[in-house]
């Protein structure tokens, strides 16, 4: 284990966070909020620790997959531990566990809140929450790879451990250029949404927070009713941008390079769009027929909710907990599928789901024609046995963690629906679930034990299980 490199890179992560913490200070200055001082102190503290950690450069900067996992996992843990401090110290969220829950929910782009009254929060705190979504969405290590002049050794392992999906491809041969490209596309899309929101008459602060929360597919609202109070235009803009941030960014790379055919031939993006349309049609029909909803509003709310849940954002315009069972069930199902790999969305990812279904098909064919050999292709390329094995192991570990979390959380005795959907909302980084944690509810009433489990689940979900899991495996730390 290359401890030197781990220390050095963690030093950089903390230094970067110190830089990020300056932004809420600026917000506090603009709105004349005393919380700015707290953010400033935390930034200074982080800068000091970060600098100390990276004073000595490591002799050997080469890292393996194991170090990659450990660095990414520890980065996210440290990022959260430090990021929670200003929330707690400023008194915005008096309990440290609650502050940690809130900021982990931010960085992991979950968007679940323990705040009962979000509108009473100072703007600097609201901004920090929403900004954490934006950083967490594309990833802080990818950000570092993009902006820092790190020497050659820090490689694909970091990106692989932080980016979602069964197999992480580089857009261009050079890793640093890929990271830069990703952040440029990310910034352009975020700014585009911001402009559309401002154009619709949304106040600047609201627009910034909404754009940051949409981009990271996070979902922290800055109003008690999330997006319900904004105009239909704004709701439609958010629906569209949530959908766009759930698309595999390779799609945009093709678009930029005018490879239209390659872009629109992407299997995963097509499946993603197909599921979106099917879910919207079914839910709209269900609300209109069973609950007598008006067609226009029903389509708008169905599209918003599907886009929000499928991309694991978690904004809401309607309290879908009050919808008929079929609509709720569809939402629970798409909670698990999640968005595309290589997007900022969470969940199991559409491409994994596709690999599962393709494998099952092949197995059925094989059981009939036992002598034929079938291969599995994705985006036109054959998928290796190692990737399939890893994808299957992912599902199994995912289920095991889900079941264990469900058992601990159900100890709180809030009923099966609340327990089940809150675990689903955590591990898939969504935010709202059903029942007590529905769009009009929050996570304040859970026990400290449950909140700790949820914090773990959010990190496990965002980093796709293995980095966090390896942190606890004794074999990782053995010589």
């Amino acid at each position: 284990m290359n401890y030197q490199s781990i220390r050095y890179l963690l030093g950089w992560v903390i230094s970067v966070e110190a830089g990020l913490l300056v932004l809420p200070v600026v917000v506090a200055l603009i709105y004349g909020e005393s919380e700015g001082v707290v953010f400033l102190i935390c930034a200074a503290g982080a800068a000091l620790i970060g600098t100390l950690l990276r004073i000595r450069k490591p002799a050997n900067s080469h890292i393996y997959a194991k170090e990659g996992f450990v660095i990414v996992a520890l980065s996210w843990v440290l990022l959260s531990i430090i990021g929670a401090l200003p929330l707690c110290i400023s008194g915005a969220i008096p309990s440290y566990i609650d502050s940690l829950f809130e900021i982990v929910s931010g960085f992991t782009t979950t968007g679940a809140s323990i705040l009962r009254d979000v509108e009473s929060m100072p703007n600097s705190v609201l901004f920090w929450r929403s900004f954490s979504h934006w950083i967490g969405g594309m990833g802080v290590l990818v950000f570092m790879l993009a902006i820092l002049p790190l020497a050659g050794g820090y490689n694909i392992h970091l990106m692989r451990a932080e980016s979602p999906g069964p197999s992480v491809g580089k857009l261009v041969p050079r890793l640093r250029k890929t990271a830069k490209l990703l952040y440029i596309m990310y910034i352009v899309l975020t700014v585009a949404e911001l402009l559309f929101l401002l154009f619709g008459g949304m106040p600047l602060f609201d627009s910034v927070c909404t754009a940051l929360g949409t981009a990271g597919t996070g979902g922290f609202g800055i109003k008690g009713d999330s997006m319900a109070g904004y105009s239909v235009y704004i709701q439609i803009v958010v629906t569209i941008f949530m959908f766009l941030f759930g698309v595999n960014f390779t799609f945009y790379y093709f678009i930029i390079n005018k490879k239209w055919r390659d872009a629109f031939k992407m299997e995963e993006v097509r499946a993603y769009a197909g599921i979106f349309i099917a879910a919207v049609v079914l839910i709209t029909a269900n609300i209109v027929i069973e609950a007598g909803g008006d067609i226009g509003t029903s389509i708008k709310d169905a599209a918003f909710s599907v886009s929000s849940i499928m991309t694991t954002t978690g904004f809401s315009t309607a309290d879908f907990d009050k919808w008929p069972t079929l609509s709720k069930t569809i939402l629970v199902i798409i909670m698990f599928g999640g968005a595309c790999a290589g997007s900022t969305g969470g969940g199991i990812k559409i491409s994994r789901i596709m690999l599962y279904i393709k494998q099952a098909k092949v197995e059925v064919m094989q059981s009939i024609h036992s002598r034929s050999v079938y291969s599995i292709k994705m985006e036109g390329k054959p998928v290796g046995a190692k990737v399939l094995q890893g994808t299957n192991a992912f599902l199994i570990v995912y289920i095991v963690i889900f079941v264990l979390s469900l058992m601990i959380i159900s100890w709180d005795d809030f009923g099966f629906t609340t327990s089940f959907t809150s675990v689903a909302a955590m591990i898939n980084n969504i935010g709202p679930g059903l029942g007590m944690v529905g769009p009009s509810g929050n996570y304040a009433d859970f026990s400290i034990l449950s909140k700790c489990v949820m914090i773990m689940d959010m990190l496990v979900g965002r980093l796709e299980i293995f980095p966090i899991l390896l942190l606890f495996a004794p074999v990782t730390w053995k010589k």
Copy 2:
């Protein structure tokens, strides 16, 4: 496709059912019930059709895996279609769909009922329901293999398609002898339970039905409150025997041959016992602490419920729908695990669950030590890649069918908990779920569409998906 052999074997299946239908006629005679005439007519009709179908022997009796699947699937469908007739014609269950639901629930050893008042049913009907559990538990084709002088060609494929578990082993080299051995052990255990029940003062008819329902891990009760009204002694006897019928029968084979060490070294049986004990301890603690239950009764009810749900039997002594969330959640979780492979119990099976967890462990190790090679062992023997692939495909298809069923059933709008647990109860062949389908509820109020989906799910669950799935695959029927 060897259509001749399919016809011939289906003829035998129907003939065997004709023979089985004579037993309720005897019951009707004893209790002087007019329903006996209906059973007799159905038996005669089945005998006629069965005989006609098997008049001409097939020229070539050799069958492949594909025919094995098709024969087993069609056998179960025919068995159910014919078995439902007396229930409907006698007027006991006026709707044919309801009759079909009830008898499929019987044969698949689910034990879910659409009857609102089971105690008003004639004894011959109650006996037929419970007897269907017993036949379905070990399997009608295994029964045929054991008793009929079928020529050599009808082979392991039939047994493999009907018996549960990831890999079906023969106890002894000759298949027919294995089938016979299985049925002998099955009969001995059933009779043992019957004697224990009679010894406890349970009326003869009740004892017979209870023993048949326990043996098949079915769970149809003949009282409105299932087992709650019987003495503690009887409840304990049933608890123990439910557990015993969920054990892999290879265990008993070892015991008979005095291979004690082999028996008690069986990994699957140990895991099964371990899960049982853990679940009973957790639920007992949860009821005593959260609901203030008395310790003795809590242990008894927890053990009964865990045994009943884990083995997928479905009898009940307490309304666990009223238990705290943790207890309910544990029951929902063990619904999926199910019993051992090679037992009469349903669910995913303990050995599959173990294979999943072992694979995940290996994958975690592999991600750290990418150059090492790990192999997966079960019961001391290495597990082949083909078995693992099949086991993984099973899980995926299982989830797909689960999700599709959940969507259709939730259309009935009975809430998420009821919809989710009723699909779980169907596909795992358990019987009761939570909410409206809890121990004190029934399945009467579901729509016809939902009932049809549930009928499919029960068959899919009992035959472990592939036989039924292949019935609908166009490729099965292509030249």
